[in-house]
Point group: C2
């Protein structure tokens, strides 16, 4: 299934319409890879669709997220970033608060956690959009170690 086909299917499933803007924006996102900001996508997509408006990018990115085609990160306090959702290998994300690195989070671990929370409170965690903050191996080691002395 091509990228465009999936776009059409997923969007219509949610009642969204398939427009040139959405198609080009999704293609741009798919082409550029991870860690994209709205501004970056805007700049690139605008070359193919000159009249494109920034507000449209924000709204489109929101629709694509709702349709499950892309995911959001929030690395620190910088502008929001996102990436194409990986349908072959669904996973959450771990964002290091110190260095900003983004790791994949195995959904099996999440699944287990989700069940527990659901059992305890009835709340259904959205595991696919899951982005958690914390410290990666390197940074947690570096932060805990007292300079000049090993932990």
């Amino acid at each position: 299934m091509s990228c465009g086909d999936r776009l059409a299917v997923e969007l219509r499933k949610k009642g969204y319409k398939v427009t040139a803007q959405r198609t080009i924006l999704l293609e741009t996102i798919a082409h550029k890879g991870d860690h994209l900001s709205v501004q970056e996508v805007y700049k690139e997509a605008r070359e193919r669709l000159p009249g494109l408006n920034l507000a449209t990018v924000y709204r489109t990115v929101d629709s694509l997220r709702d349709a499950g085609l892309i995911d959001w990160y929030s690395p620190g306090s910088e502008p929001m970033q996102f990436a194409l959702r990986d349908h072959e290998n669904p996973h959450g994300h771990l964002v290091c608060k110190s260095c900003g690195e983004v790791l994949d989070l195995d959904l099996d671990l999440v699944e287990d956690f989700k069940q527990k929370v659901r059992g305890a409170s009835g709340f259904q965690i959205d595991g696919n959009h899951l982005t958690l903050e914390g410290l990666c191996v390197e940074c947690s080691a570096g932060n805990l170690a007292i300079p000049g002395k090993e932990a």
Copy 2:
């Protein structure tokens, strides 16, 4: 220990200074309760400290968060909100994407999950700032049922 004392202790621990702005802002937050936006706190605190600047509120709220005195939520796409951290009863938060309700999340469940993730990837999830999105009991019931027909 009074509110002000804790402020002093926690801020100094992190190398922050204790200022009138920070004191008043923390008091305002403590007094107003949950679900506060920066603008709300700004408006209220400004009555006691007329020269107060919005940028200062943003920076202060950031410092207080870093010092572990308050927590952030991100309910949908609305402006960021936060609340005083409950030191007597630490917990995470579950935010319903549909109705916006905020539930408490038992840290024992999180603790277990944290250990697993740490074992798998070495990543240390910050459980105290944990805010997860999903659907509350009511909304998940409402959303899953197809009107007039069961799944």
